[in-house]
Every structure is written in C-alpha cells, then in structure tokens.
Symmetry: C2
Subunit: 244 residues, 2 copies
DNA sequence: TATGATATGTTGTCTATACAATTCAGCCCA
DNA sequence: TGGGCTGAATTGTATAGACAACATATCATA
C-alpha cells in the first residue's frame, strides 16, 4: 500500500499534521477504501523517514476524528462512514458561511439590562448586574432560520448593530481578544410561541430545536449565555459520536 | 502547587492515565481551582519521576476533555465550567442507569421486515432486504421518556423481547461481539403525532427532540439505523463544545 | 516615557530506543 | 476435528534527549 505522502520539512506545518492531512485526503478521495489496512507504524516510519511516534501522532489524529481504527496486534484500518466534524466552538454564522448559505442577521434587540437570575447564574455574576442582551434573527436566502438570544458581560466588548449584522458573534468576540475555549450546551425542543412563529415563518406551536449554552474563555470566565431557537423544518444539528 | 499524585507502578493502569485521573480528581474536588496554574511539565516530570512525554500525555488527556488549557511559553491552567463528557457511543439505557434513573423498556415491535429505502440507504444494503425492526418505549420512574426505533441488519444478532427489556441495545450488541465504533447523528425536533403523544403521555403536537443515527462497527459496516423521539419536557441532550 | 531588543520560561515537535500487551495464524496433540 | 500452545506481528506505553516556537519580563536606548 503506497500512500504517496510527500513531506515538506521546511513547511511550518508540523510533520505529523502533514502526514495526517495526506492520509485523510487519501481516504476522502477514495484512494484508501473503507476497511483498507494501512502499513504498520514501523514501516510507515521507515518509508517516510520519520520517527514512529510522529507516525503514531498522525494516526491518532485521524483516530480521534473517527476516520481510522487501530487494533493492537493487528494494525490500523480505515473506518467507513461519512464522518462529521467534532463538536467545536463555531458560531452558526461561520457554519452557514462555510456551507455557502449566505447568512444575514437582523438585530432585533441590543440593550444593557439588569441580569435576570438565570443569566446571572450562568455568567457567574450577581443578579441585577448590567449585561448586554442581544436578540437577533438569522436568515439565509431560503428565509428565516433561527432566533438567537445572547447575554454577555457588559465589560466584554462594545458591539454595534452594524457589526452584529455583518459578522458572527463569536467572530466579533475573538476579534476583540476574547479567547473562547469551551462551552456547555443543552439541546432540546419546544413549541413556537406566537412571537417566535411570526419571526421564523412557522405556525404557532411548530416544533423548534433549542440550544441553551454557556461559553467560557480560556481562563474560565463565562463570556456568553445563549438561548437559540431554530426552525426544525430547516435545521438539524449534526454530530459524530465516537467510541473511545 | 503540590498535587499529591501517587503512582502505583505495578498497577496495570497506564501511568499517564493515573496522573490524569488524579489531576482530574483535584479539579473536581476543588483542590485545583479554575484559573490555577499547574507546575510546568519539566517540574511535574521530575516530581513524579516520569518522563516529560508521559506528563504531556496525561495533560493532553485533560485538555481534550476541556478541563485544562495550555499556552506555549506560559503554562497549563485549569479551565472553568462544569464540563460534560465528550459525545460518545453510549445508549440511553446506560446513561439512565448511570444517572440512577432506573430505566424500563417496553418492546412495542420486533419484526423482520424488508428494508425501506431510507433504512437500506443508511445501512448500505439493497432495498427490500430483510432487516430487524425494533420499536421500544423507554421509561423511568417518572414515566415515559422516549420512543426508540431501530433497524439492524438481520444477520447481526438474535435479539429477544426479554433481552431488549432487560438491557440496552448497544450493550446487547457489544455482548454479541459487535464492536461499535462511530455514529453519525442528526438532532432535530418534531411535533408529536397522535400515536407518539399517546405513548409518551404528551399532547398531540407537543415538541419532541429527535435523533436520527447511523452507527458503524470498527471495520466500517453500518450496524444500526436509529430514529429516537424524546419528550422535550423531560429530556435535553447535553454536550461540551471545545475550541481546538 | 515609549519602543525595541534581549533574556528567560514554558509548551510544541521530533528523534531514538526499549519493553509490554494483545491478536492471529499455525502447529501439535488428544 | 477441536482445543490449547507457541511464535510472529503489531500497537501501546514509557524513557531520555534535543531543538523550535511562542509569551512575557527585563533592559537599553532614544
């Protein structure tokens, strides 16, 4: 099995990542079929003039992605299945852009308000403290998609309607030097209220997919509490479950 | 910062995992606070008489879990946030058992049927081929929770009503030597049909959280196509999003 | 006082090596 | 023919060491 992996040692991209990337391309392009066995680690290391640990690192990256599976004593095989990306901290805006869907955003509300109990609790601040409350309608060329409500600590960033209509919220936060790191999210469902139904172009009572989320930065501060409602007729949340 | 990590080198549990486990316990028990800085890798390696790479391995395990964050040139810090487990291939049954909710299962249907187009497509078999079709109602002490519909290749395992009422499906498959590996899942929402509403004890039209899933084994065969509907009033899907 | 350069500290990547644990195929014996 | 044992093959864990890349603090100069 010849993989034709080509390495550029002057490239700043780490070698393990170059290997992983090229193995992944071979899988995606069908050169490596589901069930195909990779050469063993020692052979690959010799062929590519890399240390075995570098090869292991590349392979582990793809195992974590669900593309490869390893068995001690046997070897490494390609897994079947159109695997989705791991759940990561990207905003809906970025995802829609990436899938070519031309998102637009209408800012419905942008106010400094005293934090209600639930928001204060999630953000780890005292109730009544000022927070920036946002409500936005996200649409694509096919019509309205989601209502997004976010509460941010007031001191975090100065956001304008214009900014929010041009770029995703997480993108704006990142541009303001906020290092988003991890979020805890609950996915649920609810029946559309009259107001929601009107905004989203659905019937009152239509099923909506809901997400409630607290996002933290890299030193652990809560930087966003969000409540999103999506038209279930237009949106599902796709994910990969991996047995590790 | 003294972590009091104790290693048992005769334990079959790998050293990196022992270290990771104990750091995690320190975080969970509050001995390591959000924002706290760990000793650097070299110091930890010296203190614990381990190689630096073993320490890195332990730390990376916790970084992947969202508990720690690393910055080149600075160090490693504890992340804030009640982090949920990574999305993994566990069945609802196992999750409910683990959370002490005493699940019960009523098998509504267990038939060999010709595979409809959607099922055949997901399982990678020809339409009309025999598949095992299951429909079950999962309840807890608080009442019905979810309707679960699964389609399995007929040859995969022989399952009885008794087995399905006593244990989770994935558990049964694993007991039959099936190595579940990865699943592709779409989470959505729908309005309860009359039949669903009656089974779940909700009103007709109530919002249900839905999951459509194809599960693959470790050599890439599709081993299950599932369609689950949960009472949104009783269930949310919790997950962690990590920025990597 | 502000800016740029340098030094220090720490993680990131990579090499080389060795032993352990598991899997599978083949062989032998009852 | 079936079960058990052995050896080969391969991944899993761990050690030791080195250099690179980035972040931050400190120092020097204008």
């Amino acid at each position: 099995m010849n993989l034709s992996v080509e390495l550029d040692r002057s490239d700043p991209v780490p070698l393990y990542f170059q290997v992983a990337r090229q193995i992944e391309a071979a899988i995606v392009e069908g050169r490596l079929r589901p069930g195909a066995r990779l050469d063993n680690e020692l052979v690959l290391a010799e062929q590519l003039r890399l240390s075995r640990l570098t090869i292991r690192r590349a392979i582990q990256h793809l195992v974590d992605k669900g593309l490869l599976v390893r068995k001690r004593g046997v070897g490494t095989q390609v897994v079947h299945g159109q695997v989705k990306r791991a759940a990561t901290l990207t905003s809906l805006y970025d995802d829609l852009v990436k899938s070519g869907q031309q998102p637009t955003t209408q800012v419905l509300k942008i106010d400094l308000v005293p934090a209600p109990a639930e928001v204060a609790d999630a953000l780890g601040i005292s109730e009544g403290r000022q927070v920036l409350a946002l409500e936005r309608l996200r649409s694509t060329q096919d019509g309205p998609l989601a209502i997004m409500r976010n509460w941010l600590p007031a001191s975090l960033a100065e956001l304008t309607t214009e900014q929010l209509e041009q770029r995703g919220l997480f993108q704006l936060l990142r541009s303001n030097g906020v290092h988003l790191r991890v979020a805890s999210q609950q996915i649920g469902a609810s029946n559309a209220t009259t107001a929601e139904a009107r905004l989203l172009g659905e019937n009152r009572g239509a099923a909506l997919l809901t997400m409630v989320r607290t996002t933290y930065d890299d030193v652990g501060r809560a930087v966003e509490y969000g409540r999103d409602s999506y038209r279930a007729s237009r949106y599902t949340f796709e994910m990969t479950l991996v047995d590790r």
